[in-house]
Assembly symmetry: C2
Homo-oligomer: 134 residues x 2
DNA sequence: ACTGATTTGTACGTATGTATC
DNA sequence: CGATACATACGTACAAATCAG
């Protein structure tokens, strides 16, 4: 399961394991992950290592942590489609803290930045917006 | 400077402080951050708290950690422009571990996903690619 | 070639706080 | 009110890679 003597750090191994369970659907959107304490006991790790594994999945945008209710597989958001206009240039980056708060964004979600020809700039949460070139 | 009695966690306060220094240019691209030990001593924090602050900036894509050389303000990558075609739909998300390795991507960098009308899908590192609608 | 210092990474432990149930 | 679960913050120890001398 998890091999403390392996080259890969144990918290990375745990993150891999949980990521695989999410990817395979064994852990479906909305499902709770086992609590940190349960995971620590089950795999024989410290709670610190479990939290490092969880932190990886948070940064990847795979889970939501609702303190202190638990940790859940993130469900897909309903995405609105925004039309691109002539001369628009699209980029993506992680939001600043301020942007995350003001746009009510979850962790591990990038922003799409649309720079229009006239110099205006729009910033969209990438989990709720997709861009279409008509 | 950092207030242990404040509502905001000390490691978040330190992250704010460093983020501001990067945003203002006081820490310029390529500049090294003080070592974890130096930061811990300077601000009277444990190394654990310093590492949590650093982790935030890593997830935001603001710094590169080169072990054991040090931690540096991330310089901007040279970005190639890719043209969008009729019917393309653009989204962004964090890469999987496998994608990050195969595309040689730094931490805290999203991918741009271009779904073309014929069903093909292209995945681009968001720090090296921008998309243009002609 | 080697040695020691520096720096980040991993992994453990403890204690306490806070919000939910 | 107690149990549960995540958050914060401290500490220790050792590993691994780089660099200076």
């Amino acid at each position: 399961m998890i091999d403390p003597t392996a080259d890969r750090a144990v918290f990375r191994q745990l993150a891999d394991l949980l990521r695989d369970q999410i990817a395979s659907g064994e852990l479906a959107p909305g499902d709770p992950l086992p609590s940190e304490l349960r995971l620590a006991q089950e795999y024989g790790l410290s709670r610190t290592s479990v939290r490092q594994a969880i932190a990886i999945l948070r940064a990847e945008g795979l889970i939501n942590v609702e303190r202190p209710r638990g940790t859940f597989v993130r469900p897909a958001e309903a995405a609105e489609t925004v039309a691109l206009r002539r001369g628009d240039v699209v980029s993506a980056r992680m939001p600043t803290e301020a942007e995350r708060r003001s746009l009510h964004m979850a962790e591990g979600v990038p922003v799409l930045v649309v720079q229009s020809a006239d110099g205006d700039q729009a910033v969209h949460p990438a989990d709720r917006v997709r861009l279409a070139r008509s």
